[in-house]
Amino acid sequence: MRSILKLIASVFLALNLIGCVKKEVLDDISLIEGIGFDYIDKKNILGTVVIPVYLPDQPPKSNTFSTKAEITKSILQDIQRQTADPIVTGSIEVLLFSKTLTEKLGILPLVDAFQRDPSIGSGLYLAMVDGETKELLAGQYGIRGTATYISKLMEHNIRNEDLPKSNLELFLTDFYQEGKTPFIPQLKQIGKNKMEINGISLLKHGKMVDLIEPKEMFFFKLLVDKYSEGMHLVKIDSGEAAVRSIHSSHNFELTKRNPTEVTIHIKVDGIINEFTGQELTPKTIEGLQKQFEKDIKKESLKLIKRFKDKQLDPIGFGHFVKTQTRNFDFNNWRKNQYKDLVVKIKADVKISESGVIE
């Protein structure tokens, strides 16, 4: 008898505990999948959220709500007053910032809320929009909703193409890492329901300072990501070839001090996808390899020179040299050493296959 009483008492208490916490049923909430921020003036920003509405037998329709506010969370507060169901931030996939906002205000104050909120994963994508985010988000893209479209777009470009790895976690890591400049991809709307990735924006203290053009992205990724893939067009006298790098890696080596000299070994494993010339002899392949190596050297050094002139370091030379030096002084590095840094590139391209025809 007593044990039954005990059991009833404990079940009762357990039920009490469940009652303490607010429950959220998926059908009765609005899940925000993406947020965009636009610049209004020095104090105010315009926030736009995308909420997918699921309809029977149709692709989800993306609804957008916009409001003006001073900080991120108050945007959400204002949008609460516009939506039928309470909005929840748990499944955000993309954060977009307009170009003007990134140039004038910087994205740091806006990112804080997403870093602080435990319900938001750090795998979400950040991107800068060439234009206004409100306009971009107003379009209907793909069949899985706008935010999913954008995140899928970035995901496959990171995995197979020349977009370097980038998400909130990596942005924060680069931001907090001394001697490294963070970067985020740039999107542009190119039609009513179309968009493209058209560059990578480098951010210093959260503000945009430089842009990597699409044609430089392949080399940028080679320098920034430990392993990368992508496609490059190699031109030699006997024709043009599209070479897809299926596996490439880089290695840094500190070869000299005073002035600091870093050698980057870049290894590219590629296959030929297309060749416009007459015949693809071993000799032409040799020529293509040589030319590819030359291209890597030339383009990479050009990029590095540009970064040095602008005092940017997305490749992380500062961090690399720090890991090789005891009692490293970042102030001295930024002021003097980085300017005098000598970078040498040793490229090694191997074209292993050329498709099913000779």
């Binding site: 009490n16 499944s91 907090y176 890492q177």
Partner: protein, 366 residues
């Protein structure tokens, strides 16, 4: 002297491994990386090894003392300080374990409140948790040891799951090695010792071990395993976070999970944090058991009455603490008290025991 524990209530020596390890790994393991990196930067993993070594030395001392006094903490105190003063000293440990209980439970509830349910009421959660703990402690020490066993076996997969974050980690962060002075490393190992606390419960459950001689190696294995686990988590966190970012995260171990995304659950923390409840459950059971056992030995209060009484006290104390600042002060004090007890009082007591033994021997001979 005090070996009046019947054999049927004793535990096998290998369970000491789980008891030691579970007491050491509580809530501290969720956020220790930040504290040790504050002073020693990313060389702090060496400090973990250092404090791990200290733990082994202290364990050795404890076993030595327990053997000489043949009993538990109270018998050591009686042996060294005499009956009356020994009793006064021993009674402090009831408070010590109450403090531990409150600190562990409150920090865990804080984690739940911050990471999962901000609306969760401290009191209700603590109440239900305490009822469970009382139930387990009523089952006797063997049940407590059983819970300790499961609390390590069941959540073990969490430790393995951390490999998911390796692609995001940059282990060159750890370079250059030896970028910090010996002093900084020592300071960090002091901070690390707060996390490794808990093995002192050995002093209280020693009489319950069958064949204590054979439990020695298991106790050392337990401590070694904790040290290894801490090094593993520290190196992962150091690779995952740059130094400035690590300092911003209150629970680096949990923050690393933010990158894990599973198809069936959006945030892995929900699984991790709820599993952590199982990890801290034996901690509180052991603390409460130790406190009630002391009450029984010192004031001859039956455990049936002392366990609920102590639990109610802890429950009240737990519900009174409400803000992050207060929790910080509480854990700070608990850490300090634990540090002074383990790393200063235990060696002193060890010396005292050796002296007392010499004196007694001489008395016997003369």
């Amino acid at each position: 002297m005090n070996s009046n524990v019947p054999d049927s209530k004793k535990i096998s020596p290998f369970l000491v491994f789980f008891l030691i390890h579970t007491m050491q790994s509580g809530v501290g393991i969720l956020g220790f990386q930040r504290f040790i990196a504050k002073t020693a930067g990313y060389d702090a993993w060496m400090s973990i090894i250092l404090s791990g070594l200290f733990v082994h030395i202290l364990l050795w001392m404890m076993f030595k003392m327990l053997k000489i006094a043949d009993g538990d903490m109270t018998s050591i105190h009686t042996f060294v300080l005499g009956k009356k003063i020994g009793k006064i000293f021993s009674s402090f440990f009831i408070l010590y374990f109450c403090l531990f209980t409150v600190a562990i439970l409150r920090s865990y509830i804080e984690v739940v409140q911050v990471w999962m349910f901000p609306e969760l009421r401290t009191f209700w959660f603590a109440l239900v948790f305490h009822i469970l703990v009382i139930y387990i402690v009523f089952g006797g020490f063997r049940t407590v040891a059983g819970i300790a066993f499961f609390s390590i076996i069941l959540p073990f997969y969490i430790a393995v799951l951390f490999v998911v974050i390796i692609p995001y980690a940059d282990f060159t962060n750890l370079l250059p090695i030896f970028d910090h002075s010996v002093k900084e490393l020592l300071l960090a190992s002091r901070d690390m010792s707060f996390t490794l606390l808990g093995f002192e419960t050995l002093l209280f459950f020693y009489p319950f071990i069958q064949n204590p001689e054979r439990s020695k190696k298991w106790a050392h294995f337990g401590a070694l395993y904790t040290t290894m686990l801490c090094i593993y988590l520290a190196i992962l966190a150091f690779g995952f976070f740059p130094e400035a970012q690590l300092q911003k995260n209150i629970w680096p171990t949990l923050a690393m999970w933010k990158i894990i995304k599973l198809p069936f659950v959006e945030r892995f923390e929900y699984i991790g944090v709820s599993n952590w409840g199982l990890v801290i459950l034996p901690n509180i059971c052991i603390c409460l058991w130790c406190a009630s056992r002391l009450a029984k030995q010192l004031f001859s209060i039956r455990q049936k009455t002392s366990v609920p009484a102590i639990a109610i006290l802890c429950l009240i104390a737990t519900s009174l603490i409400s803000t992050r600042g207060q929790i910080n002060i509480l854990t700070d004090y608990t850490g300090k008290v634990g540090f002074y007890f383990n790393f200063i009082y235990v060696p002193l007591l060890f010396a005292g025991t050796l002296i007392a033994k010499k004196v007694r021997n001489r008395e016997k001979h003369t």
